[in-house]
Amino acid sequence: MRVLAAMSGGVDSAVAAARAVAAGHDVTGVHLALSKNAATHRTGARGCCTKEDAHDARRAADVLAIPFYVWDMAERFHEDVVEDFVAEYAAGRTPNPCLRCNEKIKFAAVLDRALALGFDAVVTGHHARLGADGLLRRSVDLAKDQSYVLAVLNSEQLGHSMFPLGDSTKEQVRAEAHARGLGVADKPDSHDICFIADGDTQGFLRKHLGSEPGDIVDGSTGEVLGRHDGAFAYTVGQRKGLALGRPAPDGRPRYVLSITPVTNTVTVGPAEALEVTQVDGARTVWIAGEPPTGPIECEVQLRAHGRPAPAVVELDGSAMSARLRRPERGIAAGQAVVAYRPDPAGDIVLGSATITTAS
């Protein structure tokens, strides 16, 4: 097959491309330039689109002896991922930009362009398994598993995707990079949000949304406990950075329970008040066969790197509801609810939806 390898400049995508070459595919490497003003060098472990990363990707392609190009996706990335990220926070939700990037950029704009140019598939370094059965499963390396951020892809997109790393641990990937002479073998993992290089999400949001002071109120008494600089900068379940002058009467920590953009209010309360047993989502994508017509027993994951929770999931058109077997805390609208069927050969992704409400 003619495959397009998306190469970030990191170790995972380099080894994924190498494996595609080793499997006998005709591989072309592409680095996506996602930043309009790419910095020259990496700073720390964050960021994914500096010129240094483009250089690292190019050197990996050299070692693999495959053609290599840089595709400028900065404008699309800005519109579909960065602006969406800001708008979601402004609406009181907590978006997952990696998921959005997969949905809109890597497996949409890039995949579409690749297919139009005569490629059969896109190969990436995501840690997830995609078998010949078309089922998406968790990686064998549960700590690195990225099936959650891929669960938004439909069968058509998955049908043109290859994830060669799903059967390997990160350690194995690094060892293979060493063995193959890839210079990125020891490059640190990237963390957090690639377009917020300093990791200061609140600062980033303040810069884009301005400061809009409002009240922090107690969820049970309605009492004003403090002030905030913009409700958008808070996330359900957040404990740090509330700067409440007064401790709770019982001395226990308080958490963000909800964000109400209309009144610019952040509501806080004790940990128990975060507990939910019912999660509703919209924009369902069902990957594993026909969507179920009745309730099914499965597990759900409610945030990136969250633990799986037993639940009963039911679909109603494009809406998904999950009744949790035991309460979960800190479930934020805007994140994805991903349904999995536990399986000894790797938990199978059934489908996903975007969380609208949790109670």
Binding site: H31, A33, A38, R58, P67, V70, W71, R76, L117
Partner: protein, 387 residues
């Protein structure tokens, strides 16, 4: 492999390569006083004389540099600095110059108090003499206009422009890296004050070039040190590079006429055949069939609805090497400033592709291109223009 990117760099002439290797075997710093040093110095001076002779310059006017970018920077910054104390702070630059010129000029504007004036071009990419005449005044430090454009191949009316500048006591620098060997270039007859040329565009080695600089043109050095080159340029001379470069320049200029005729015929055939297989392809720049207005090896097209990058990728996969002709930053293509200045909209500027021929080009290269191009255009068109 069909190599259609000679304007980026062209293969070394076998004799130039032999001259390089033979000279590189010899020891000798051209500044040393002993026998080996004198031998090296002799090779450098013979090379200088050969280049001067074929370019209509005096040997003392040839300053060896590390290539086109250095020559451009030296001429622009050096002449500006030398004339600034006289209140001449304006720099006039053609709008479609190479970035080695544009970025040097804009740097002077941002950091050295220069007032930069961009001379607009017509739809073929030409600076009209009346535009220059109007922009000239007593505060102009220098004018810089390329001899021939690297992207669309348009040849500028350099002698006319230089005469206008000279009449106002203003030196004109011209970047002639694409012109030497492709069109007649005579330094003295052109009336320019400074002229940039480089080795690797005409069959010589990479990393060596020259600035032909009139003896009466004041120029402040960029590189300080041993003062090897007329005290305007320092650095140990690259003897093998210079010897090889001189051979290539001499060869290119002496054979320019036949070479150009052969290239123009091949290029005209390429243009005709591209139009036959892609009827809506648009040739950018000056029309063919007017020798002297367009470089003979240059064909530059817009393919409506196609992204130049996509075409490049598809042709590259068929072992056909072409260029989008645009500036790169981390490999990311920007719409060509040359086409934008010529009045193209950004979309058609992004849909362009440059084919450039050189001394190793044959009809077989054209055959390969013409076979691969229609399916590539179809595919690229289906892929459309990305945002």
């Amino acid at each position: 492999m069909a190599y259609l990117d000679h304007a980026a760099t062209t293969p070394m002439l076998p004799e130039a390569l032999d001259a390089y290797v033979a000279t590189a075997r010899e020891v000798g710093n051209a500044s040393s006083l002993h026998g080996p040093g004198r031998a090296a110095r002799r090779r450098v001076e013979e090379s200088r004389e050969r280049i001067a002779a074929v370019l209509g310059a005096r040997p003392s006017e040839v300053i060896f540099t590390g290539g086109g970018t250095e020559s451009d920077n030296l001429a622009i910054k050096g002449i500006y600095w030398a004339r600034r104390p006289d209140g001449r702070t304006k720099v006039l630059t053609g709008a479609v110059e190479h970035h080695a010129v544009l970025d040097a000029v804009h740097w002077l504007g941002q950091h050295e108090g220069a007032e930069v004036v961009s001379l607009p071009v017509d739809h073929e990419g030409r600076v009209r003499p009346d535009v220059l005449a109007e922009a000239l005044d007593d505060t102009v430090a220098l004018v810089t206009v390329m001899w021939a454009n690297n992207e669309v191949g348009t040849v500028q009316p350099i002698a006319e422009l230089a005469a206008l500048a000279a009449a106002r006591g203003v030196p004109l620098h011209t970047d002639a890296v694409q012109a030497v060997g492709q069109v007649p270039v005579d330094y003295a007859a052109s009336g320019v004050a400074a002229l940039t040329l480089t080795g690797h565009k005409l069959g010589g080695p990479l990393g060596v070039g020259a600035l032909v600089l009139g003896r009466d043109v004041a120029c402040t050095p960029l590189l300080h040190g041993g003062g090897q080159e007329r005290d305007v340029r320092s650095g140990t001379l690259d003897v093998p590079g210079i010897v090889s470069f001189a051979f290539a320049v001499e060869h290119a200029v002496k054979h320019q006429e036949q070479h150009s005729q052969r290239l123009a015929a091949l290029r005209d055939e390429l243009v005709e055949r591209v139009r036959a297989v892609v009827p809506d392809a648009v040739l950018n720049g000056a029309p063919t069939g007017q020798p002297g207005s367009r470089l003979p090896g240059n064909a530059h097209f817009s393919f409506p609805g196609c992204e130049g990058d996509a075409l490049l990728l598809l042709l590259d996969a068929q072992d056909i090497a072409v260029s989008t002709g645009s500036a790169c930053s981390a490999g990311v293509a920007q719409p060509s400033h040359v086409l934008l200045e010529m009045g193209a909209d950004p979309l058609s500027a992004r849909s362009s592709l440059r084919f450039t021929l050189g001394h190793t080009s044959t009809r077989a290269d054209l055959d390969a291109l013409i076979t691969a191009l229609p399916p590539a255009v179809d595919r690229a068109r289906r892929a459309g223009m990305s945002r």
